[in-house]
Symmetry: C2
Subunit: 374 residues, 2 copies
């Protein structure tokens, strides 16, 4: 069995590789001697490869960087919504190789597992390396064993989703809350890579919030229950279904924005249309979008101030708002930022909706590293 140090080495090479033993020693606070010893079993089993770095002009013996084997394994990440599964096939670094969408009905565990299984079969056929892990994420509460404690949008209570899918596919399955999974993806492979702390705000059908401090995601009982969904942002704003005026849900979600525009224009519109109307100068859509931009900026500033982390990562399917109003969001964030603190650094995950499925893949990869099983 391999030790904790072995696992730390595997994680470090996966996240920061290719990287030389010397740099690894500094990063893990271990001596060069230990690095030689720790890396040996990985090289012997073919999990790591040693690269030939062409000399870069520096004096001294050139580094011999370690990297993960290119054919280490593939992973499937699948995000369950109320009517479809959005899936990505990734490599061991959560780089997307392929993506699929499969609708399902009715909202029963059997129908969902059938959809998930069909995706896994399809991915198995085209994956460049064997599938070694499956990640599933959804909006709701899950436990460590892969059971879904509750998922309101599916009307599920206590469903053994992980075990069922695992026996159906014969592969290791990790089930996680969607926001938690997305945060893990940002931490290991995304915008937060190499940063010790940042907060994550997702916008789309809902508003999600996650936090990383000291290199670790903050996991409390309330992670993923919708924290950040009802932050008061604009006292003159619209009402959300819970009756909060100008809260993040009312202001920032695609549902909330579309509802505002529809109420004023008298006809249904979708999210993309709201944005393009705003770009075209429609006064209603412009007002709604600008209010959202100010609200998001305020939320970014609040997150940065209260978490004491100057970096905020934006992700989710609502990134269209960023594309249209980035300067306004930045200005609003700066206005509410504490004047003495350094400016907020806003990082945007451009993957849009795929970021959710990539999050599911990320937790599957993490599970594989913890098991040191590839």
């Amino acid at each position: 069995m391999l030790t904790e140090s072995h696992e730390a080495l595997a994680r470090e090479v996966l996240i920061h590789g290719p990287i030389g033993r010397s740099a690894l020693g500094r990063r893990l606070k271990l001596s060069p001697a230990s690095l030689t010893r720790l890396a040996k079993p990985f090289l012997e089993r073919g999990l790591f490869v040693e690269l030939d770095e062409e000399s870069n002009g520096a004096v001294g013996r050139p580094v011999r960087p370690l990297d993960i084997a290119p054919d280490l394994g593939s992973f499937a990440g699948m995000k369950i919504t109320g009517d479809a599964v959005y899936a990505v096939l990734t490599d061991a670094r959560a780089q997307i190789i392929d993506e699929r969408v499969v609708d399902f009905a009715p909202k029963t565990p059997d129908a969902v597992i059938a959809a998930l299984s069909s995706i896994v079969s399809a991915f198995s056929a085209i994956a460049p390396a064997p599938l070694v892990g499956i990640g599933v994420s959804l909006g709701g509460a899950v436990d460590d064993s892969g059971r879904v404690i509750r998922a309101p949008f599916l009307d599920w209570v206590d469903v053994a989703l992980g075990p069922s899918l695992s026996s159906a596919t014969g592969l290791a399955v990790t089930v996680e809350n969607d926001v938690v999974a997305l945060v893990e993806a940002e931490r290991w492979f995304g915008a937060g890579r190499g940063r010790s702390g940042f907060s994550v705000i997702t916008i789309g059908a809902g508003v999600g919030y996650g936090l990383v401090v000291g290199g670790e995601a903050v996991h409390t009982r309330e992670a993923g229950v919708g924290l950040g969904g009802h932050v008061p942002l604009d006292p003159t704003g619209p009402l959300c279904p819970e009756g909060h005026r100008g809260c993040s849900s009312a202001l920032l979600t695609s549902i909330g924005m579309c509802a505002q525009v529809r109420a004023a224009l008298g006809r249904p519109v979708d999210y993309d249309e709201v944005l393009s109307l705003a770009v075209a100068g429609d006064p209603v859509a412009t007002a709604v979008v600008e209010a959202a931009a100010r609200g998001l900026g305020r939320m970014i500033a609040l997150a940065a101030n209260f978490t004491m982390q100057p970096t905020v990562v934006l992700a989710g399917d609502g990134m269209g708002l960023w594309k249209v109003t980035a300067p306004r969001i930045r200005a609003a964030a700066a206005a509410d930022r504490d004047p003495l603190a350094e400016p907020v650094e806003i990082l945007v995950d451009e993957a849009g909706f795929r970021a959710w499925a990539r999050g599911a893949a990320a937790v599957a990869i993490q599970a594989a590293v913890t098991r040191l099983a590839f």
Copy 2:
């Protein structure tokens, strides 16, 4: 030299003692055998004592709890303001034994060091155990070597306060930002003891903010620079000197509250008078105090939501506001708390202004534990 495990043991006994080896093993994740080994040098050097627990009716061999020696050492904690030093003499657990206030003028390093030295002399004479460490805190930026990088309220830039005081007194001196020190005191000895995470809000002449996550205080460059000082809380509120409408400084500080009441009543009032006027039913003071209570409640909810820590500690000289309006603050916090999350737990440090000096003592104690020097 003693190891990291020895230090962890010392910290654990100091914070949670008296405590048996068995419980220590569970807490530190070490075997009973290791606890016997680790505790030995402390008992031999007289730093720990073994208590005789009278049997409490439980079966089995009774625990033999370890505790720190009662005469382990005394500590001085001193908070520097613009015109006086507030000091406490404490035992090794930051329990206050005595307190002093010494005014100084002018705002020069020499005058401040003279005031600090006179307090140290006075404490030395009455301390029940030898003084082993001195902690100094102030509003401003300090570095690890005990230098004050800048302290605007004293017009100081780059003053070697720690080294000067150390050579003047011959004792180990620790200098820390006042908010950071207060957070450390709450974490080790105060309301946050035994909790892995919480946020701290101080109100008084200013608004301070600190954060503990995963058992560690969050130390970023912006710790103690005034984060939380200008959080927008009430869009219809008064202006702060920076021009923010209804921000935490305008709403919650004693200065801000007194200024509002004075503007309406046309005569100067102090903080205690504002509170007693409000209790007596004066309409102006009542409006100001209730706005402050609502604002503080909102700030508490924001802190809990964005830090994902359900516990918030209140401290500082403005605790009079809590005494007068606790139910209103609780109600406001509950209103802005995310509906799905567990209720906010509000803990109040009743020490008032002394909490600042106690924070300085706490960082001195921490330094002594790190050095394992008593």
